[in-house]
Symmetry: C2
Subunit: 223 residues, 2 copies
């Protein structure tokens, strides 16, 4: 019998070319369609199918890319001696990432967030879990605190904020609420209030996207 023979090898450069272009089109708010995506790249529409199996696959890969960027961003947060500060810093990094690429962030969470490789998403949450465990070890949080539960709650706050700001309803300045909310949460986990606030504000820093805003609160000026 004969073994199969190999043929042309897929060029990974084409894959990232399409992915980058899609991300950039998303950023500049151009509609990302099969034809507009490949237009000007020299490759044909079929490339999308050989590399991603279709547009759905492209979106999935784009979500993956979003989580990879997020993971990179969180990995850049330097771990300090103060685990509560670190938690706030991770939250701030999460929000900063979401607001630097709001469209990519939106893509990450619609379609039910199914990924090929959930490693990046897992790592994201696990990083929080580890900081919470350190906070417990240093006596800042109570022993009964379940790290995964508290991590999920922190994530909920971060995502709620990111989602409401990135999709429209709330103005950017609302991001400042992150600090008091995290302080409330961590205090309820056992941290001493004054010290907690100090740690959180230190880790949170200036609100992630502290810029002048363009949108009114809820009623939304009909701009």
């Amino acid at each position: 019998m004969y073994c199969g023979a190999m043929a042309r090898t897929k060029d990974p450069a084409v894959r990232s070319l399409l992915l980058d272009r899609a991300a950039q089109m998303l950023r500049t708010r151009q509609p990302v369609t099969l034809r507009t995506l490949v237009a000007g790249t020299g490759v044909s529409t079929m490339a999308v199918y050989t590399y991603f199996g279709g547009m759905d696959g492209l979106w999935k890969a784009l979500r993956q890319e979003g989580f990879t960027r997020l993971a990179t961003r969180l990995a850049a947060v330097k771990i300090s001696a103060d685990p509560v500060r670190d938690l706030a810093a991770l939250g701030a990094a999460y929000l900063a990432n979401a607001l630097e690429n709001p469209d990519l962030y939106r893509v990450m969470f619609d379609a039910g967030f199914d990924l090929e490789d959930a490693g990046a998403a897992d790592e994201t949450l696990h990083r929080l879990v580890r900081s919470i465990e350190r906070a417990k070890a240093s006596g800042r949080f109570r022993d009964e605190v379940d790290p995964l539960e508290l991590a999920t709650q922190s994530w909920t706050i971060g995502h709620g904020l990111a989602s409401l700001v990135a999709t429209g309803p709330l103005p950017h300045q609302t991001l400042a609420h992150g600090a008091p909310m995290l302080t409330a949460l961590f205090t309820s986990a056992g941290d001493e209030p004054a010290r907690c606030r100090q740690s959180v504000e230190q880790g949170w820093g200036r609100p992630p996207g502290a810029v002048a805003d363009r949108r009114a609160v809820v009623r939304g000026d009909p701009a």
Copy 2:
């Protein structure tokens, strides 16, 4: 001179027929397209244009409908003598509504949530504000508490939870986190911890969608 002559009047029944059908198709996860929407209704595709000005208008009306349902749901929450309990009850109602119509909820928040009539959305937030003011008046919250800020923070928690559960990543049981999170927030606003927990748990009741779950935590079983 002559005034313009009137003609056939728009039939509001057709409008709600289309709206209801769209909501039902959303619920049963059938794709809502111009043609599938009008198929079987007897009306033609043009009806969508006369009543909504196009598919965009239909989605906008659908968002409106979502906010109306939410407002109705919140209005059904009975105000008690305990404003903190009421706040938790409003949060629970918010989540219950989001999880009864998850697809409608998703529609409400993508596309930047632009509405013709923001009254319903405003009313939603204002209901929280009023309860917070009552909590301040009865001495449960500190005087320095800004009702709108605290309302926004409560909303952020509710939306974060609803969004993460409705769009996939978190299992339904996560909704139970709502109570401790709100307790943490309201305690930080000045409420006495033990009493706060009692009030919140009373208002929150059984977690809104307390049912067996179908999805694993984050890694998501590849079902």
